[in-house]
Symmetry: C2
Subunit: 192 residues, 2 copies
DNA sequence: GTCTATATTTCGATAGAC
DNA sequence: GTCTATCGAAATATAGAC
């Protein structure tokens, strides 16, 4: 059952993401992950040095998305400013979220669990950098506080509406809801 | 050290809420709760039959808020409809959230943990009732889908902006942020 | 209502064979 | 790269004295 190259590593991450979202990170044991994969617990330790290391790896995928979004803010914000660019940035956020719903769900539903990887070296530098960059955008005194609140509100609007969409608007196609969310949020930035 | 009547029960709930928000529900042991109270683990079992029972009791406080809000929707929605009443309902939600931030934080940061109390009898009836009532509001075909999405967005806007306010707008007084959130969300319902 | 002491379970993690 | 076997730690929960 030896796997060619990095195959198994990704299979583990996929199954872990599945189970973490079904049961929660803390309620999911390595035994369960191994069982669903048809291997034993010990096999997992060849690929990851600890349970939290699996969570970390999944989290790093979110980091990539976050960095990508922040790069975009910097890029577009150079010509205009973050406020003027916000509707376009939100559109991108909607796309990212829909394309990576599982990862966002993991983060939303296991927020407490992520505190346990906060002291990992690999993680810490990146994470503080991302949070700092985001705080920096939201602390920009050149943008009126009212607009910065608007920007924050728009993020929450997208997250709750799209991640709760299945439960609330299960009959409607996701893309229809997404389009409505986009236009709703755009109304908060008239003329931008 | 015997406590008069239900005193200790509430002290346990307060300390548990504190620790659950600091460390997460799963990472908090009964030993820690007992230590912070200056009693032993076994003493807790006199007041609660299990750890998840403590979480349940805290969750029921949120139920009360939820039922209160839904009653208000029904009451106001009888004259107008939920859409017309929404801005006023959001104002109420902002107040509830600010007055019970700890409870909302608990729910937000430990969403996965709540899956473990979902099969409790006391909880189940209430919970399904609340969720069903809420879904019912959001499934009302008399309200255009675009407006129902707007309503959902507004909830997310309030939650993210107010619960993340400390990290983002720590310098500003909470009431100032709250007022900006209210007026931002009101813009999504012009003429209501 | 709180204590000491302990039963029981389960988990994360490691050692070493194959 | 996966296995069997096991260790050690920590947690929930209970029994019974005070």
């Amino acid at each position: 059952m030896a796997q060619p190259r990095g195959q198994m590593r990704n299979r583990i991450l996929d199954v872990a993401l599945e189970l973490f979202n079904e049961q929660g990170y803390d309620k999911t044991s390595l035994r369960e992950i191994a069982e669903r994969l048809g291997v034993t617990k010990a096999a997992l330790y060849y690929h990851f040095k600890s349970k939290s290391d699996i969570l970390l790896e999944l989290h790093l995928r979110l980091h990539e998305l976050g960095r990508g979004a922040l790069d975009e803010i910097d890029r577009v914000g150079a010509e205009k400013d973050a406020l003027n660019a916000w509707p376009a940035l939100i559109d991108r956020f909607v796309d990212d979220l829909l394309a990576n719903r599982d990862l966002f769900l993991l983060h939303q539903r296991n927020q407490a669990a992520f505190h346990e990887i906060v002291d990992d070296e690999r993680h810490q530098a990146e994470n503080e950098d991302i949070e700092e960059r985001f705080r920096h955008v939201m602390a920009n005194p050149a943008i009126p506080l009212a607009d910065r609140v608007r920007m924050t509100c728009s993020i929450g609007a997208v997250m709750v509406a799209l991640m709760g969409a299945d439960a609330l608007f299960g009959d409607e196609p996701t893309e229809r809801i997404a389009e409505l969310v986009r236009s709703t949020v755009h109304e908060l930035f008239p003329g931008k």
